[in-house]
């Protein structure tokens, strides 16, 4: 690893730290960074302690973890299908996680306990995971896998629309729509404990496929003659992406664009190497989501601006600019 890459990793890590502190410091109640930091590690039932421990900390932790999940999953999917248009939702997991969560709202289960909605999302995601694993386990080609992912996404999307269509009352419909927009507001430590381990496991699984992804740059046949067990790697990527993205979607809703744009931005900085893109995209995703979540809090004067709306709104024009700027590089 050369010095350029080390500098990039250190720079991104610092940015994650700054974003994390910024996320802890911003909110409707004006308590500063130091107060929040000292409150996190102290006991008591002071207002500052409660805000720090139960509102700000879970939000910042989820922002970092979900951003990292989306960034690294996007990088892994793009590396695996060898196409910069791939994104974490490509294999159907975001849509099935969203469906599971929406169903808990539809059936009125989400109001029972704080963890029923994310749990519903996790169950939805696991169904999506199982379908994809069965398809991948049969030795399907990459294209079959993507098409199957599209089918699963479409079906889950249609069922989500059906839930909206048949919503028992307008409040449930609005709640579903708002949830689908994606947000980190009002998340608790329960959300962190529920989704965090799955995101960490998924990220770890993906971090292990760096070298194989480099070999896959030359196609699957050549990669397997370079000593890569392509079938096992495919399974590892699918499980890693679905487990982590499923958990992320289950607690935060659909947050688009991070998984697509972050690997795209960082790719030229790592010499286009898929292996180096994995850790850098994890950090980059965390940075982007932490700062976006700070921005929605600063910009919300009326109803809260949803995080998923903000990332897509700011991301798309920037992405278009990037694509046009780099168009001569595409072949």
């Amino acid at each position: 690893m050369n010095t350029g890459i080390s500098t990039l990793l250190i720079g991104l890590s610092l940015a994650v730290l700054i974003g994390f502190l910024a996320s802890l410091s911003v909110g409707p109640v004006g308590i500063g960074t130091w107060t929040v930091l000292s409150s996190i590690f102290s006991g008591g039932s002071d207002v500052a302690v409660i805000i720090a421990q139960e509102i700000r900390l879970p939000r910042a932790l989820l922002g970092a973890a979900i951003g990292a999940t989306l960034g690294i999953s996007g990088a892994a999917m793009q590396g695996y299908v060898r196409n910069p248009l791939a994104e974490p939702g490509l294999i159907g997991v975001s849509a099935s996680a969203a469906l599971g969560a929406v169903l808990t709202i539809y059936f009125g289960l989400s109001t029972l306990y704080i963890w029923t909605l994310p749990l519903g999302g996790m169950i939805g995601a696991s169904v999506g995971v199982m379908i994809m694993v069965i398809i991948a386990g049969r030795g399907s080609s990459t294209l079959t896998l993507i098409l199957a992912g599209v089918a699963v996404s479409t079906l889950a999307g249609a069922l989500t629309s059906l839930a909206l269509n048949l919503a028992p009352n307008p409040f449930a419909a609005v709640e579903i729509i708002f949830w689908l927009l994606g947000s980190l507001a009002n998340r608790s430590m329960e959300h962190v404990w529920l989704a965090g381990p799955f995101m960490l496991i998924g990220i770890a699984l993906i971090l292990f496929v760096g070298k194989p992804l480099d070999a896959l740059s030359l196609g699957e046949d050549t990669a397997s003659t370079l000593g890569i067990n392509v079938r096992r790697i495919r399974m590892q990527i699918i499980v890693g992406v679905t487990v982590s993205v499923g958990a992320a979607t289950a607690v935060a809703g659909a947050i688009g664009f991070v998984g697509l744009v972050v690997p795209h931005l960082l790719r030229p900085l790592v010499g286009h190497r898929p292996s180096l893109l994995l850790p850098t995209s994890a950090l980059g995703g965390a940075v982007l989501l932490l700062f976006s979540d700070v921005a929605v809090r600063l910009l919300s004067f009326g109803p809260e601006l949803k995080l998923g709306v903000f990332t897509a709104l700011v991301g798309s024009p920037f992405f278009l600019w990037l694509v046009l700027k780099l168009r001569h590089q595409y072949i």
């Binding site: 070298k211 030359l218 046949d221 050549t222 397997s224 003659t225 890569i228 079938r231 190497r273």
Partner: protein, 259 residues
Amino acid sequence: MSILSAQQLNVSISGNRIVSDASFSVSSGEIVALIGPNGAGKTTLLKAMMGLIKVESGNIYYDSMEIRFNQQYQFARYIAYLEQNSRSYWALSVESIVMLGRLPHLGRWKRPSAEDHQSVRNAMEACDVMQFADRVVTTLSGGEQARVMLARTLATNPHFLLADEPVAGLDPAHQLDVMDKLRDLADSGAGIVVVMHDLTLASRYCDRMTLLFEGRVTADGSSENVLSERHLATAYGIQAVYHDSDHGKFVIPVRRLKE
């Protein structure tokens, strides 16, 4: 002394028999040219020998070890494969592409050692791509990219190399370079299978030839025997003129035979 052999292979793709009852082998130190018209099954035979395609029946052996479908990755240190029209999907540097050839030795975690870097340098020099080391591979011409991909296989220092049309698209000078390089590799003990269409180049550089026609091994042996008038007429439907020179035998296709 090692041997890589296929015994009575039958391979079908989507119900079409592509390779029929083909037996084929290559030993350490020799270059075998695998020739035959388009669609004869050369690439399929090569892929089947690499365990990349499921065979209906027949066996593939690396010495006494059997190579099964999807198990090729276990032989990556010993058998290198150069895909036809091999290319990189990402804009990687030439050096990092060639370094991928060391992957079978490095595994997932080991960092490249001085020895690995030396192998990469040797391979790049051998294929005349040293001057492109830091260039992005996708910005090179087709012929240059082909040499980079060959360098990648040489960096592995394999015992066997199966190369699918490594000289297609190269200028005459680099065709000779590549064949010289394969000759060096064979002289240093590796066994090489090379798919090619240039019959003269094949007969000059290869120790043995195997002619594949409609999935069957139609002829096998010295270039003299394999490139006979009768074989060329059956397999390619051509007539050729032969010429002996100081540089070996020339085979020049001159006329297409009509049915």
